[in-house]
Symmetry: C2
Subunit: 237 residues, 2 copies
DNA sequence: CATCTTTTTTGAACATGTTCAATATTTTTC
DNA sequence: GAAAAATATTGAACATGTTCAAAAAAGATG
């Protein structure tokens, strides 16, 4: 009943060929100066075929981003299962590995953000159509946080905050022309230092009122994923 | 020596006609489904003329955003000069008036963010080509903060933080389908409350070390406008 | 295997952003 | 006011993302 099973059916093969060629071309030249005709030619198919597998040129980038996400999950799981690490180390791995994966494709990455401000666009990186990807991304941070002892509200807040930080770092990475994108790495380190520091402070009961204020503001305005009705999952089955 | 003086030369007149028609059409339908041919037809000129005045379709949106910015400056200046207000009130006016101006054009606004992730694009809202706009926007917050008594580092940090907050609120506004976009307004209020609260805390000398950490992190990585060499202005003439 | 159904592939046609050489108009110069 | 220079305008031509009816290939059914 599902599309393309394990065995690489003919269709899946073409899809992959188109995807691979497209990525190669995007990397050699760049997204905008690569035409769908280029992609089709290189893949040895007609333009129509490319559209049979990808609903638009940008959809190829979305497929790319899904691959990135999978690889990210894989790497984080691998690293965290290897040995026991403290929170700071775990978060660092989560952030770092994402940057590692994506670093060579800074130009492609930009396209992912192209419809940030257009909610109804199927590729809007904040829109409903990408909810699953987003959820996955946040879940990865939840996984990295693991069973770390944290006040309830912080447990709710931290993953989203880290996701937002990651988005910011991706943007920074795109603009970062320092050799090896060291600048972005440094900002990441610094931001994680600050995060740990703030977490320390936040555990202090004196900060309770402030925390409540923040969480309530976000919750009431549906800025925390669990509180978007469309997303809410049964909490106590 | 300058283009188009006070007297509306013929050219400026056409430009304005094209701009007006374009905006009207963008609002009636939307950005993407309005074609340059539509715009040209409605303005009673040939397509080429539209391109003589606007280097691209998106450039019309940039022009729109400049108008918004001007209007924003005007309103803030007007409101702040009317009577003496406290910091919270001043910041609120700065934020609020921006939302007021832009609210009816939530769909257009999205286009402003279209090249966020593409530094070299002339319309990249974080790129070098829009540096002036950004600077203006931050300056407006500096103006709103006025001569409020603040530690030096906060004086450096706050305007940028407010600018970032404003960008976030604009994105939120675009996604906000609550009646009258109340949700965005509430988040704004809440965010300003928190800002004031944090400012209060930050004035406490005990937070000095943390503040220094934050400022240094941003400065070292050129994330504060004054420290981008390309931007630096003589500070002590 | 013959037939029917589904999946895949094709490529011409279309829509629309953009360019540009040619033309017209306006402004400047003397 | 005529000639020259600068500015404005035209619209056909181009490039490229996308669509779609038709054809081909693969798979299912009997």
């Amino acid at each position: 009943m599902f599309k393309s099973l394990a065995t690489t059916g003919k269709g899946e093969q073409t899809r992959q060929a188109i995807f691979d060629c497209a990525l190669r071309l995007f990397r050699e030249n760049d997204f905008d100066s690569t035409t769908m005709r280029d992609i089709a030619d290189r893949s040895g198919v007609a333009v129509g075929a490319a559209y049979y597998y990808f609903s638009s040129k940008e959809a190829i980038i979305q497929a790319y981003y899904k691959v990135v996400q999978e690889e990210h999950k894989r790497r984080v799981a691998e690293a965290l299962e290897l040995r026991t690490l403290n929170l700071r180390e775990r978060l660092q791995i989560a952030m770092q590995s994402k940057l590692d994966i994506v670093q060579e494709d800074r130009n492609l990455l930009g396209v992912v953000f192209r419809y940030t401000g257009e909610p109804n666009h199927p590729l809007s990186c904040l829109g409903p159509s990408t909810e699953e990807l987003r959820r996955d991304s946040i879940d990865l941070f939840i996984y990295a946080i693991g069973s770390e002892r944290l006040p309830k509200d912080l447990r709710l807040l931290l993953p989203v905050a880290l996701w937002a930080l990651q988005m910011g770092l991706l943007i920074l990475l795109i603009y970062d022309n320092s050799p090896g994108q060291q600048r972005t790495r440094k900002v990441m380190e610094g931001a994680l230092d600050l995060t740990m520091l703030l977490l320390g402070v936040a555990k202090n009961p004196l900060t309770k009122r402030l925390r409540v204020k923040i969480v309530r503001l976000l919750q009431e305005n549906m800025l925390l994923p669990d509180f978007d009705p469309a997303l809410s999952r049964p909490e106590k089955p």
